[in-house]
């Protein structure tokens, strides 16, 4: 049982690391601020979800897990609001989103 949990936790952490790094790459590769927000969303949603769930499995049922759940909840509630505020502010600041139909970006 211990070992199953350990392996499961490691797998979740690996998945989380995967999404976090991909999101980071995306933030570097994407051509404008709006498309970069999508990539940053990757790290904020599934990256944090898998990493924090992986840690929860290691912590077991305790106050630590409660705190991890709260961190996850805060991140998932605040990240879309922050992204929306950023998008709205960027539009307000006259940043036009690029709209390609056929050519590739960048």
């Amino acid at each position: 049982m211990e070992m199953v949990l350990d392996y499961l936790s490691a797998a979740l952490l690996l998945l989380g690391s995967f999404f976090v790094v991909i999101g980071g790459i995306g933030v570097l590769r994407m051509p404008d601020v709006f498309t970069r927000m999508h990539a940053a969303g990757l790290t904020d949603t599934m990256g944090s979800f898998f990493i924090l769930t992986g840690l929860m499995l290691q912590a077991g049922i305790s106050g630590v897990t409660l705190r991890l759940i709260m961190i996850l909840g805060f991140l998932w509630f605040t990240s879309p609001v922050a992204t929306h505020a950023l998008a709205k502010a960027a539009l307000h600041g006259k940043v036009e989103p690029i709209e390609h139909e056929d050519e590739e970006g960048h």
Binding site: V33, L86, K88, G93
Partner: protein, 97 residues
């Protein structure tokens, strides 16, 4: 230990977010990078707490998450509602870093 691997992954992403903050080009890219950096700091502290055996540091991570959000919102409000005064160009314009 996968916790170590995850920490390294998060640190690498922090470096990439910082590259984005350095490159810009608009101020909103930088805000995005700082916000991302903040959430990655939360994850880093959670992970560090685990591999140093001090998960009590999660209280800090909790506070960081909220402060990061409030900071981002405050900064964006600042840009949007134009309390940037009459001096200087609007920060939304592309600037040469």
């Amino acid at each position: 230990m996968m916790v170590v691997g995850a920490s390294i992954a998060v640190l690498v992403t922090m470096a990439m977010a910082m590259a984005r903050a350095l490159l810009g080009p608009t101020v909103y890219d930088r805000v995005l990078a700082v916000n991302m950096f903040g959430t990655k700091t939360v994850l880093t502290i959670a992970l560090i707490g685990f591999f140093t055996g001090r998960p009590e540091f999660l209280d800090l991570a909790l506070a960081y998450g909220l402060l990061n959000f409030i900071g981002t919102i405050a900064v964006l409000k600042f840009f949007q509602f134009g309390s940037l005064g009459a001096s200087g160009p609007h920060p939304g314009e592309t600037e040469s870093g």
